[in-house]
């Protein structure tokens, strides 16, 4: 509404010279914004986004390779990517779907419609969920190369960083519970390692083989948003991480459970929760590592 009054202000004679200075100012701002948004920190960034009850993990390696592991239950992940990628950069080198539950997958569909994704890693299966169909349709429509992943595979990110696949044992396991066949990854860069247990069930964790030499674990992503049923005390003791991260939001399941919190705190392992601390960033140069949280 408001036609007449706005009109009197907006209807002015067109004068192209009027656009010169505003145009120049905008261009200058743009160039400076581009320069300033260029990523200058050349440490590896491992970031657990606060996407509510779900998982979304972003990795930017020292050489600038960008990886997204799961996308959370809605489009929120896009807001975070918008902040972590400079505005002119619309590509992701790798997208990994650990398992096709909606709280991990839905956000990725949104990402696929916005970003150019060079490669997708996931294990296809007979899933009925609508979001899974959307996801596969988008991948086919854009003709994105797909890799599968099983134990023993290594995804080399750059000269220094790689993701080791610790699970599943085969790519064609028929199961009614995708949590049993979800892709479990170990990120290694220099002497730093992080174990990403997504929604792994207790039985999976018990069968998990962590390659020797990686016993010294820095960061562990607590499985299944801190669910009691996914707690394997033996693994917590064996892995003995320096920091545990729980990716969790408001939920009616009681995540994270008191038992899980207790299992870590009794071993003096600090816990960071995305619902209370916000997104958790871990920065490492391969030797030392730092963490910070952003709400």
């Amino acid at each position: 509404m408001g036609a007449p009054a706005y009109l009197t202000i907006l209807i002015r004679k067109i004068n192209l010279r009027r656009f010169f200075w505003p145009g120049l100012v905008m261009l200058t701002i743009l160039v400076w914004a581009a320069v300033l948004s260029f990523p200058r920190d050349n440490r590896l960034l491992l970031k657990f986004y606060d996407v509510g009850e779900g998982d979304a993990i972003f990795i930017r390696t020292e050489q600038g390779k960008k990886v997204l592991i799961d996308g959370g239950p809605d489009g929120r992940v896009v807001n975070y990517l918008s902040k972590d990628l400079p505005f002119y950069d619309r590509t992701l080198d790798l997208m990994i779907v650990t398992h096709p539950h909606a709280d991990h997958l839905r956000g990725l569909v949104e990402v696929l419609t916005r970003y150019h994704v060079r490669r997708v890693v996931y294990n296809p299966g007979q899933y009925t969920e609508a979001v899974y169909r959307d996801f596969e349709r988008e991948i086919k429509a854009q003709n994105i190369p797909v890799w599968t992943a099983k134990v023993g595979d290594t995804l080399t990110l750059d000269a220094k960083s790689r993701l080791l696949v610790l699970w599943p044992t085969s790519i064609n396991q028929e199961t009614s519970n995708p949590n049993e066949t979800s892709i479990i990854l170990l990120l290694r860069t220099g002497a730093f390692s992080a174990l990403l247990l997504d929604d792994a069930e207790k039985s999976v964790q018990a069968a998990l083989f962590i390659p020797p030499g990686d016993d010294d674990l820095e960061v562990l992503k607590v499985p299944h948003h801190g669910a009691r049923t996914a707690l394997d005390e033996f693994l917590v003791a064996k892995a003995a991480p320096k920091l545990a991260v729980i990716s969790v939001g408001r939920n009616s399941y009681g995540h994270p459970s008191a038992e899980v919190l207790g299992a870590y705190s009794i071993r003096n392992i600090p816990i960071l929760r995305t619902d209370t601390a916000g997104s958790v960033s871990i920065l490492t140069d391969g030797l030392k590592w730092w963490y910070e949280t952003v709400r």
Binding site: P4, L10, P73, R90
Partner: protein, 466 residues
């Protein structure tokens, strides 16, 4: 200032309603509007009686014939509404607690997803059998196997559970109801609609591919009126900053489209640019997929513009009342709709109060900060704000205190955003790379807008609850 009347005198002129100096068409429209309002809010008998009393007063004080005809119009409006059967009053959710219910409703906002389930709100509820409206919203939990879209119509059957929620409100929920999607009502020109839908989706995807968030959603909101995909946090900040009206397809966008075409008047001549303006706004309204509010705005803006273009700028007030009367003629229940009330009042404020604020601001300072642009922006925002305030408070119980400031700050960039995003969309139809370049330019005003919203939306005192 000696030549222009003081705002007190203006106000007196306005309040005294010197009828003999007002055009007949204005008075006719006014009578019709009052009649419609009386017909809706009063019982027919009371409405007629009230009208008679006012008529009597006027007849005694002034001449008879003109006022009798005004009363006739008034009466017609009242009677016409009397013919509409009063819809049965809404059932409250309390009446349905812990009962098996069969409801139909509309999906409100995007569903939230959990492991294998999703939760979504439903509004616009009706009993599926009796078709009686049910007041309130319910939340349903269902499996994530099926995708539901905001605005989709669903039939639900299940047990309604009520739990007390925050702030004394009750929270109504149905877990795992039986859901059947209701087919969308058949639309005329469905092929055409589908084509427009495709264009809209294509345009949205161009914005999403070229711009980061929340700038992409903001651009989609400003140019296409699509506010569904705004990030929740940003939408909340927009509300607090008093800028939500920018992201709905409304009269504001239509005004800007019209003013672009008005610019062309210099090259095409008034008549041709008027026709072009009409075509452009109709296309725009179709494109935004906007419902009745957009069409109302098109009608109102167009009447206003044609008055302006035919050299009757002074009659803009008549144009406003004429178009409002026109709308209530077509659809009397518009009067009770918030969007109609707000757009009518905003324009009313712009027309009647802007000069008042202009005078006041001129008195406060004549030079310096009060550059012409800023003064015009501030007085028109204040005018629209003041006029819509009662309705805003009445229906939302809250008002943004920073709205006058934020509206001034974004006043200049909104046309810029529309223009540059529009060019991005146009170019994007041919080349994605080129679209990115234009989009980066659009990013400058968009980011400025976002920063204004974030700064003012985060001020703890930005929103006053009443």
């Amino acid at each position: 200032m000696a030549t222009s009347p003081s705002y007190f005198r203006r106000l007196k002129l306005f309040l005294a309603l010197n009828f003999s100096r007002l055009p007949l068409i204005f008075l006719l429209s006014l009578s019709w509007l009052f009649g419609s309002a009386a017909g809706i809010y009063l019982t027919p008998l009371l409405a007629v009686a009230g009208g008679l009393i006012i008529l009597a007063v006027f007849l005694i004080k002034r001449g008879p014939v003109a006022y009798l005809s005004l009363f006739l119009i008034y009466l017609l409006a009242v009677l016409r509404l009397g013919l509409f059967s009063q819809s049965s009053p809404a059932t409250t959710l309390d009446h349905l607690a812990s009962r098996e219910v069969n409801l139909q409703g509309t999906v409100d906002g995007p569903p939230r997803y959990y492991n294998q389930t999703q939760r979504l709100f439903m509004f616009d509820l009706k009993d599926s059998v009796s078709l009686r409206p049910v007041a309130g919203k319910i939340e349903i939990t269902t499996s994530a196997d099926v995708t539901y879209e905001p605005g989709q119509q669903l039939n639900l059957s299940g047990t309604l559970e009520l739990t007390p929620g925050q702030g004394g409100r009750t929270y109504a929920e149905i877990s795992y109801p039986k859901i059947t999607a209701r087919p969308a009502p058949p639309k005329p020109f469905s092929g055409f609609q589908k084509m427009l839908d495709n264009i809209r989706q294509k345009m949205l995807s161009i914005l999403k591919k070229t711009l980061p968030e929340p700038q992409a959603s903001l651009a989609a909101g400003v140019i296409l009126g699509m506010k569904e995909q705004l990030p929740a946090e940003f939408a909340n900040q927009l509300k607090r900053a008093g800028l939500t009206h920018i992201v709905v397809a409304s009269g504001y966008n239509i005004t800007i489209v019209l003013s672009f075409s008005a610019q062309l008047a210099l090259f095409l001549g008034k008549r041709l640019s008027l026709i072009l303006g009409l075509l452009l706004t109709v296309f725009y309204a179709l494109l935004t997929g906007g419902g009745i509010p957009v069409w109302r705005a098109v009608l109102m803006s167009f009447i206003a513009l044609s008055f302006e273009m035919t050299g009757r700028e002074r009659e803009a007030r008549t144009a406003l009342f004429l178009s409002a009367a026109f709308i209530t003629l077509l659809q009397p229940e518009s009067l009770t709709e918030l969007s109609f009330q707000l757009s009518f009042l905003a324009t009313f404020g712009l027309l009647y109060f802007t000069p008042v604020f202009d005078d006041m601001l001129s008195k406060i300072h004549r030079r310096g900060l009060g550059s012409k642009y800023f003064k015009e922006a501030l007085s028109s925002t204040l005018a629209a704000q003041v006029a819509t305030l009662p309705v805003l408070i009445g229906s939302f119980g809250q008002v943004s205190l920073v709205a006058p400031i934020t509206n001034c700050l974004i006043f200049i960039v909104t046309p810029l955003i529309m223009g540059l995003s529009g060019i991005t969309l146009f170019v994007g139809l041919f080349s994605a790379g080129l679209a990115s370049l234009v989009a980066w330019l659009a990013l400058v005003p968009l980011t400025y807008f976002v920063k204004v919203v974030e700064f003012f939306g985060n001020l703890p005192w930005a929103l006053l609850r009443i």
